[in-house]
Amino acid sequence: MKLLVTFSRKEGRKPIIAQVVRDTGVLVNVERALIDSSEGEALIDIPDESCRIVKDRLTDLGASVRILEEEIILDETECVDCGACISICPQEVFSFDSDFRLQMDARKCVLCGRCIEICPHRALSRKGPA
């Protein structure tokens, strides 16, 4: 399961993810992180059964947490099944079925945004605000 964690860094440089790993004992996989002097955003992957405990601990430490599900939306009226998105996705979210129809496994997505940027038919978008 993927969680999008956003946190402020104004109160100093607390090692928030390391803290959660130590407190919960859950091995967290950081898939993408953007951290600057005032705030940070990290996309982490954790086992489904540990979701609650990790989420609660992150929230206790002052982070806001959003569970990511089906974050990328495919507009099937725009998509022509060209497949331009398939090879540029670092997570292999996209594939063809046996009829060369585009399939999407949005749970693997880490929101890098590359497919949205390059889709020739502008058929891909991101759900809601970050």
Binding site: C82, C85, I86, S87, F100, R101, P120, H121
Partner: protein, 502 residues
């Protein structure tokens, strides 16, 4: 055994013709043999659906009152070529909007019109005695145009080379996004279903032959621009009535960082006249090979990274130098199948009969590169030949002295053999003074990854490097990586007011 086109058309009219798609044909030939397939199959339908930049449409808008001779025309802010008669114009698919850049272009106007949406027409004129009006702005619908005749100068490439990128940065090309270090491979084309791949010697596809274009019945005008059937890269010029087209088979697209293009559905029915037609329509993805072209090389003759078949490309992964690389198609095989299937329905139902070319196309045609009479500027013509260099084992202090003496900001670093190994800038030296911990020698502070140019390189390509890497100088090196000069942003000034602006 041979069949005539008349016999085949009789069968079509009677509803008795055996029509198969080009994807079904190889299996039929394998099962029945060539003679058996010739007896069994009357028509093979082909189809392709992909980006075809060389597309566009002739319009006649009808006369306004008072009338205007349109000298410049825009449709939804996309300029159409109006250098023809008063209310005629040709809208090219790749023309960009003046207001929305690459997010909207000629292809989008064509799709909007085909979808029944209204489009703003704006035109200007200087006004004449016969056409007094000087400006017009109005909404138009496709149904209100007298004609909207699509004429695509180059569609249906027989096959197309795949694309890769061995360089160290992402490239945005008309072949889509190419990841660095050969991170992916992109390709385009319907392979087994492609019209010309099923008639490579142009025996039955030629002028006047009926086709499927954008969901409407169209016609092959003749040889496409840049056609090179002698080298396996034939193309076709095709035409059809935009008013009868469907957006299912006509889609605007944007190749990010490159521009607007039009996805076109094109299919041609091939009459199975003789054994040669059986053989050519038995072609499979496995039989159609292309090069993987390295787009990191910015010249016309880009090197090949390897050869692959459409079967390999379509499998999703190809192996290059022992490594598996993922592939992406840019054309849609699913829609190519839909084109071939719909065309099959047309012929089976008698809606479309076949014709032989009124004039054959030349299978020996070969596209040639441009013969340039004036060569653009080369780096050697504007580079600074007096270039100071420094050894990697010299003290930083000496580098500072050389920069000061040479009144320059860039100092290429060479090893004992005079080979370029790095570069130091005044910025690097200032940093070393402020943070002295890194060491005392040039090699301790130099940048080891140097972007270079060569004397023979086109200045345009060198400028692109300066922009892309956000740097202000390029050491000029020979084949042995010896520094022969330096090209700085200052040298580019020599281009202005000089002989290159003629």
């Amino acid at each position: 055994m041979r069949k005539t086109i008349q016999e085949i058309n009789e069968r079509i009219k009677e509803g008795n013709a055996r029509v198969v798609t080009a994807e079904e044909m190889p299996q039929i030939v394998a099962e029945l043999g060539e003679e058996g397939a010739l007896a069994e199959v009357d028509v093979v339908t082909t189809g392709t659906f992909g980006a075809m930049c060389s597309s566009g449409c002739f319009f006649n808008f009808g006369h306004a009152d008072p009338p205007i001779r349109m000298e410049k025309v825009w449709l939804n802010d996309v300029e159409a070529y109006a250098g023809i008669a008063a209310v005629d114009a040709y809208l090219g698919a790749t023309e960009k909007s003046t207001t929305r850049e690459e997010n909207y272009g000629g292809a989008h106007v064509l799709e909007d019109l085909a979808a029944g949406r209204s489009v703003e027409l704006r035109a200007i004129s200087r006004g004449t005695d016969c056409y007094p009006r000087r400006t017009i702005t109005t909404e138009i619908l496709l149904e209100n145009c007298n004609q909207a005749i699509m004429v695509n100068p180059r569609n249906g490439y027989q096959r197309y080379n795949a694309a890769g990128n061995s360089g160290d940065r992402v490239l945005h090309t008309y072949m889509g996004m190419l990841l660095p270090s050969l991170g992916n491979i992109t390709y385009s084309g319907a392979g087994v279903l492609n019209p010309l791949a099923n008639d490579p010697h142009l025996r039955v596809i030629g002028q006047g032959v009926p086709c499927f274009l954008g969901g409407a019945e169209g016609m092959v005008v003749g040889e496409g621009t840049q056609a090179s059937p002698a080298t396996g890269f034939g193309t076709l010029m095709v035409t059809g009535d935009l008013k009868k087209m469907k957006t299912e088979y006509l889609r605007a697209a944007t190749m990010t960082g490159y521009g607007v293009t039009l996805y076109v559905g094109l299919g041609i029915p091939i009459p199975v006249l003789d054994i040669e037609t059986v053989r050519s329509t038995a072609v499979r993805d496995e039989d159609i090979w292309v090069d993987i072209i390295d787009y990191s090389v910015p010249s016309r003759s880009r090197p090949s990274l390897g050869r692959v078949s459409y079967a390999m490309l379509r499998s999703g992964r190809v192996e290059i130098g022992g490594e598996e690389i993922r592939t992406s198609s840019l054309s849609s095989f699913r829609r190519a199948r839909m084109v071939a299937a719909e065309l099959k329905g047309w012929v089976e139902s008698g809606r479309m009969t076949l014709a032989l070319p009124t004039r054959p196309l030349d299978p020996g045609r070969k596209a040639e590169p441009m013969k340039e009479t004036v060569q653009g500027p080369r780096v050697l013509q504007i580079m600074e030949r007096r270039v100071a260099t420094i050894g990697e084992d010299e003290p930083i202090r000496d580098a500072a002295a050389k920069l000061l003496k040479g009144e320059t900001n860039h100092l290429p670093v060479v090893n004992g053999n005079g080979v370029l190994v790095g570069i130091v800038t005044t910025y690097d030296i200032s940093k070393a003074v402020v943070n002295p911990g890194k060491g005392n020698f040039v090699r301790d502070i130099m940048k080891r990854k140097v972007i270079t140019t060569t004397p023979e390189e086109s200045v345009d390509i060198a400028i692109r490097k300066l922009e892309k890497y956000n740097i202000s100088a390029l050491p000029v090196v020979d084949r042995e990586m010896h520094v022969v000069g330096i090209l700085t942003a200052m040298d580019l000034g020599k281009l202005f007011g000089g002989r290159w602006l003629k």
